[in-house]
């Protein structure tokens, strides 16, 4: 077999996808109460459109974006607004949230009369994305309509659908590709139309050949849709790595993909755009994977935004073994949770539960300069030098070594034999550098 396309650097962690990759998507139960943060994305928070005691319908807009870089939020249930208050989100930050008590019986979503998707203009597609509250569903949650509005002097010729799902354990994108192939391809073509690109490329990692085959058979009817197989390597799905693997183009530091004529969107986002355009459905639910050795019956669930982790775990038969770590997102970039109270947001791709036999928490030791972090870094930084500078409080040097170019994939910390949490130091350095620049 010819060598697969990929990027330089990266790591090969155990993927553990088999726990959930064969499980068809099923509906998660609707919780009695949902907590919907008014800020689930990068950018400005929303202003609530409802007040305590109000009745809300399924899919009703309850928070309005106040800035361009923002996205509205919608109710994920029919019910009554119980409170609008600050609640700790999955990062531990207090965010103003709408707490809704769900009706005991929930209506089905009624699809709006279909539009001719081929006839939609770029402006209309952007408006649909914005009104539906679309954000990047791979984790970063960047408002989609903003990404669909590249600067006029930077035309986008290639839309890339990130179908790598390179985070270990997670399988929700894989299932969507298998179960929603047609809709997904249609959504991808909408993205293409929105930015006036000439083609769409699906980048699929080689561990999902069934998904690649399904996409290929569908794509064969469209000359503008390509499916490429990529090496199984983390972080293949990182924006800059994926662009390089598929097109050979390199996004300069601090620049956006439009700089090199690319737009990258995640599988879930493409599908959400299709649902918004064809059915008038706002983004109030998403597919996520609940998995890991600490979950009795791993599953891919369609869950309402605002569902607490506890409801999801219960739907998967509860914990098993000795669960010691609960992660919102994937194990490489996700957020460890102190308990099961945090609610699903638009960017939640999964819940991973690790047991004591797989969690390896060593004490941070001395760097022996083995260079594994340097070899693994897909941004070609020198993580050990950033750590050294951060330890000494030399923030200018941390910046010189590339702290600001780090996107926190975690490869360095994964590889480090001395248990050094490079990503921690980088985050600290970023905050300090930002504080210094403000002065």
């Amino acid at each position: 077999m010819a060598e697969l396309k990929t990027f330089k650097g990266g790591i090969h962690p155990p993927y553990n996808k088999e726990l959930a990759s064969g499980k068809a998507i099923k509906e998660a139960p609707v919780p009695r109460e949902v907590v919907i943060p008014l800020q689930q994305h990068i950018g400005a928070p929303c202003e609530p459109l409802v007040s305590e005691g109000d009745r809300v319908e399924l899919g009703q807009k309850i928070g309005e974006a106040q800035a361009f870089v923002s996205a509205p939020v919608h109710s994920s249930v029919a019910g009554t607004v119980k409170a609008i208050t600050e609640v700790a989100n999955f990062t531990g930050a207090k965010v103003k949230s709408v707490v809704i008590e769900a009706d005991p019986s929930q209506p089905e979503f009624s699809k709006k009369p279909g539009k001719d998707l081929e006839a939609l203009t770029a402006e209309e597609i952007r408006e649909i994305a914005k009104e539906a509250g679309l954000v990047g569903m791979g984790g970063a949650a960047f408002p989609t309509h903003v990404k669909l509005s590249p600067p006029a002097d930077k035309p986008v010729d290639t839309v890339i659908i990130n179908a790598c799902e390179c985070e270990p354990f997670l399988t929700c994108d894989h299932r969507l590709m298998l179960e929603r192939t047609d809709d997904l391809v249609a959504g991808a073509r909408l993205l293409k139309a929105a930015v006036g690109a000439s083609k769409v490329i699906f980048g699929v990692e080689a561990n999902k050949m069934d998904a690649a085959d399904a996409l290929r058979s569908r794509a064969s009817s469209y000359p503008d849709v390509e499916v490429e197989i990529l090496e199984v390597k983390y972080p293949e799905g990182a924006e800059k790595m994926l662009i390089f693997a598929l097109t050979g183009r390199k996004v300069p530091p601090g620049k956006l993909p439009s700089e090199v004529g690319c737009l990258v969107q995640n599988v879930g986002t493409a599908l959400a755009l299709y649902e918004a355009a064809a059915w008038g459905k706002p983004l109030y639910e998403r597919v996520l994977t609940v998995t890991g050795p600490g979950v009795r019956e791993p599953a891919n669930l369609m869950a309402r935004i605002g569902t607490p982790i506890a409801t999801l775990i219960e739907a998967c038969g509860g914990f098993v073994g000795n669960p010691v770590k609960l992660i919102m997102g994937g194990p490489m970039t996700g957020w460890a949770q102190p308990d099961t109270s945090a609610a699903v947001v638009k960017g939640t791709s999964g819940v991973v539960v690790l047991t004591s036999d797989v969690v390896d928490l060593g004490e941070e030791g001395e760097c022996v300069r083995c260079g594994k972090c340097v070899d693994a870094c897909p941004m070609f930084l020198s993580p050990n030098f950033i750590v050294q500078a951060a330890k000494r409080g030399q923030w200018d040097k941390a910046e010189m070594w590339g702290a600001l170019d780090c996107f926190e994939c975690g490869c360095c910390s994964y590889e480090c034999p001395a248990y050094i949490p490079h990503v921690d130091y980088v985050r600290k350095a970023k905050a300090e550098i930002a504080a210094l620049k403000k002065k």
Binding site: V324, A336, E366, D375, A389, S413, P417, A418
Partner: protein, 348 residues
Amino acid sequence: MEGGRFIVSTSPHIRDPITTRRIMCHVIVALAPVTVYAVVIHGIHAFYVLVSSIAGAMLGELAMQRGRGLPVTLDDCSALLTGLLLALTLPPQLHWWIALVAGLVATVLGKQIFGGLGHNLFNPALVGRAVAFVSWAGYMNAGYVKTAAIGIANTATHKAIVKAVDVASGASPLAAMKIVYDPASSPIGPGGVPHGIQASSYYKPLFLANPWGCLGEVSALLLILGGIYLLAVRVIGWRIPVIYVGTVAVLTSFTGRDPLFYTLAGGLLIGAIFMATDYTTSPLADKGKILYALGLGLVTWLLRFWSNNPEGVMFAILFMNGLVPIIDRYILPRTYGTVKKPRGGETS
């Protein structure tokens, strides 16, 4: 269990099973065959050298960490490895107390003075050896070999050299060749090689059972196998050992000498595979490693053929160790997507 508290730490939440201790243990495993074999060939005294050297290195580490009130980290096996590597660069008949002192020097002066693991500029084992080398030159001479061992591999060539140039029968092949080729001391005359002397007749003993030289030089084969093991478990990369040995071989053949002989003889293999690849004292990035290995080859070649000593590996590595901070400062990977202008300027 429901609603129980979980461990909260920052991402990533999974890690490779590799640890510093495991890396050290891999190297020790890679050195085990040659170590055992050295005792088999050289006898019980080689064992005394091993034990003294390792004890010295571990004592040095213990004393320094205790003295500075730091946690004792003998369990990371790095001091043990330093002592072992040092012993393999010592002659088998060396007084045990020299080995002990060299071991102490290795971890005290070579490592702990700089701040301990990961902070030393020079390879600790070689610092220990260098101090012994200049302090007890007579004893450290590779000629200090038990003659009984020579019987197992004595070749017609070696006997001829011993006879022709009047060296001790325990002289190492490198030392013997040095005299053979040395216009000043060779009775055969400038550039002349005594009739019947062929470096190639040393191949087999050097490869399989070499009685002349330090503990670690008993078998090139076992060193190479150890290197292959370290490559296989991803503890070392191929660049430093292959480029280092390759550079020496190429330069040696330019000089008109037998490149294979000069690869197998002396400390080149143990140096290239086990010492030049030491993480702390070698460059971080691949390009830097290439430059470092080329430098090692060049300096080794210069020392071997244009210095008073027959060997040059130890000082070549120590010299290049000293250049590593400079290499790292200028030759680090350029941030993804940048076109020119490396990060650089001043570093600590």
